[in-house]
Amino acid sequence: MSIISSDDQELLDPLPSREEGYGTEEIRQTAARASTRAKKRGRLTFWLAFGFLALLAFLAVFADVLPFIDPYDEGQILDSKEPPSAEHWFGTDKNGRDLFSRCIYGARVSLSIGAISVVIGLFFGGLLGLMAGFYRRRVDSVTSTVMDVILAFPPLILALTIVTFRGQSVPNVIIALSVLSIPALTRLVRANTMVFSQREFVLASRSLGAKNGRIIFKEILPNVVPPMLSFALTGLAVLIVAEGALAFLGVSVPPPTPTWGAMIWDGRDQLDDAWWISMAPALVMFLTILSVNLLGDVLSQRFSIKENVG
């Protein structure tokens, strides 16, 4: 997950190869101009990403009452494999179901499963990380060992195994994805907690007679929340991808509930005469993940804190 960290603090040419002299003033001006341009570009992409996600969420929430979203299961066999048109924006699938509305209903499943799993991950990862980072010693070593064991399973295999052996259902998919998200968040929160518990305001609070619980939740937690949240966005993208992978392999929520991953898999056999069946959900999914990653990138630049501590 850490691959998607921000590194956009542009540096000037490391190997000065240009002929013009490098006056300090000149460098400063160029740098300033470049950064204003970068900021403008950044703001635009930020709002595009935000707008796309807001639109998708709006459509998903109000799918039942919006007039242009057909109920996806009212298919007529006659309309099977229609290419994208004014009537069916994304075309129809093999069973004549409208792909646009299936993508929207799929967004419901994928986004809500992803979001719920992230929240569960934030809660347990946050709690465990705070405890391990604050109390250290035995609490820390037990927590870290458990997390090491979870991380010893390849992520997709772990999720696949949990859903397979517990049965395919929405709660079990959420459990599997939460298990994936907890170790990373625990580590992040633990590292941040360790840094903040050394700070003077914690000492001040303690010398005023504050109890551990108060220090953890009133002093440390507010400082740990920003990095947690920016990491959670990256985590959301990873979990949406993971849910899609499970669905692609046929191990997520069972059909006929539409999920993006399963729709992509279903269209795979018909790529030669109806490419849109796979490509429509693939495109929606790509834009969603791209938007979430962009937002996460912006946030993590705001609240970046070194993770490798302790």
Partner: protein
């Protein structure tokens, strides 16, 4: 040496925990695992026999030790679906998956190293921005989407590669071997390469600020030599860490591409066995995947400590 010892102890703990959890998987199934294995309509006697056979009547520690003993001696049970020993099923399929993973890792590095160096050397330029944006975009495309897009373009539209592949022996049919593996391997490699490129670029920009680079330059050394000979090595530590962390991504990727391209490897076997509820095969496959992952991480940890003296000393002092 103490570092190796410590890592070995950790390895043993994790292996025990992982195999223990795997051995308990059948108990997670809702209901009686024996009913699953026997199928509907089994008599109580048959069920009892299966329970005895699976060791479900023993206390849990005994069950685990028995399971581990069987596992270590290659006695993994019989696949109910294929009616052959599970060991044989896995033995035939494991090389396919391992080859896919090794090829993908190599290809990803072959793509990422030149691109990362180019982007870092020309940082801020148009080519840098193009590489960086493309990498960011590629990181947002799940590998199963890449796989399907590749099938559409290269197999169906252009017809350059088969849409569903078969495993060919690399020594007897090298051409078919690489043709069959090309799309699956490229699918996994692209996502990895995007991550590696960004990491290498960031580290390389830092390295190029160093005095020794200016020094080399003032001596008149060629740019190529500075970049590849001097700057690459100190810039590659995050890359190596990422390559290790990504073994998990590789394993996930091989499951996805084996399924998409119908390549008969471990991932294909696992997903197929899930579909037909052949849970013992899944159990054995999970154990193998986890052990590969744990062992690979162990060796990378060792190699990492050996490559970067700073780590060795930091650990020794701690």
């Amino acid at each position: 040496m103490r570092y190796v010892g410590q890592k070995l102890i950790q390895l043993v703990i994790v292996v025990v925990a992982v195999t223990f959890l795997t051995s308990m998987l059948l108990r997670l199934l809702p209901g009686d695992p024996a009913v699953f294995k026997a199928g509907p309509g089994a008599t109580e006697e048959q069920l009892e026999e299966i329970r005895e056979d699976l060791g479900l009547n023993d206390p849990i520690p005994v069950q685990y030790v028995k399971w581990l003993g069987d596992f270590l001696t290659g006695d993994w049970g019989i696949s109910t679906q294929a009616n052959t020993p599970i060991f044989d099923l896995i033995k035939d399929r494991l090389p396919v998956s391992i080859l896919i993973m090794v090829y993908a890792q190599i290809l990803a590095l072959l793509i990422a190293i030149p691109l990362g160096i180019l982007a870092a050397y020309r940082s801020g330029s148009l080519s840098d921005r193009a590489v960086n944006t493309a990498a960011f975009g590629m990181l947002s495309i799940p590998n199963y989407v890449i796989a399907v897009v590749f099938v559409l373009i290269f197999a169906i539209r252009l017809g350059w590669f088969p849409a569903t592949s078969k495993y060919y022996n690399p020594f007897t049919d090298p051409v078919e071997h690489f043709q069959a593996f090309f799309l699956p391997v490229l699918t996994i490699a692209i996502g990895l390469a995007a991550g590696y490129t960004r990491l290498l670029r960031a580290d390389m920009i830092g390295t190029l600020q160093n005095d020794f680079v200016t020094m080399a330059r003032s001596k008149g050394m060629s740019t190529k030599r500075i970049l590849f000979g001097h700057a690459l090595r100190p810039s590659s530590f995050s890359l190596i860490t990422a390559a290790a962390v990504n073994i998990g991504v590789l394993i996930g990727g091989t499951v996805i591409v084996e399924q998409t391209f119908q390549l008969s490897g471990m991932g294909y076997l696992t997903v197929f066995s899930i579909g037909v509820r052949d849970y013992e095969v899944v159990q054995a496959a999970v154990a193998i995947f986890a052990l590969i992952f744990v062992l690979a991480n162990f060796f990378v940890d060792l190699a990492y400590g050996w490559l970067d003296p700073r780590i060795r000393h930091a650990r020794a002092l701690a």
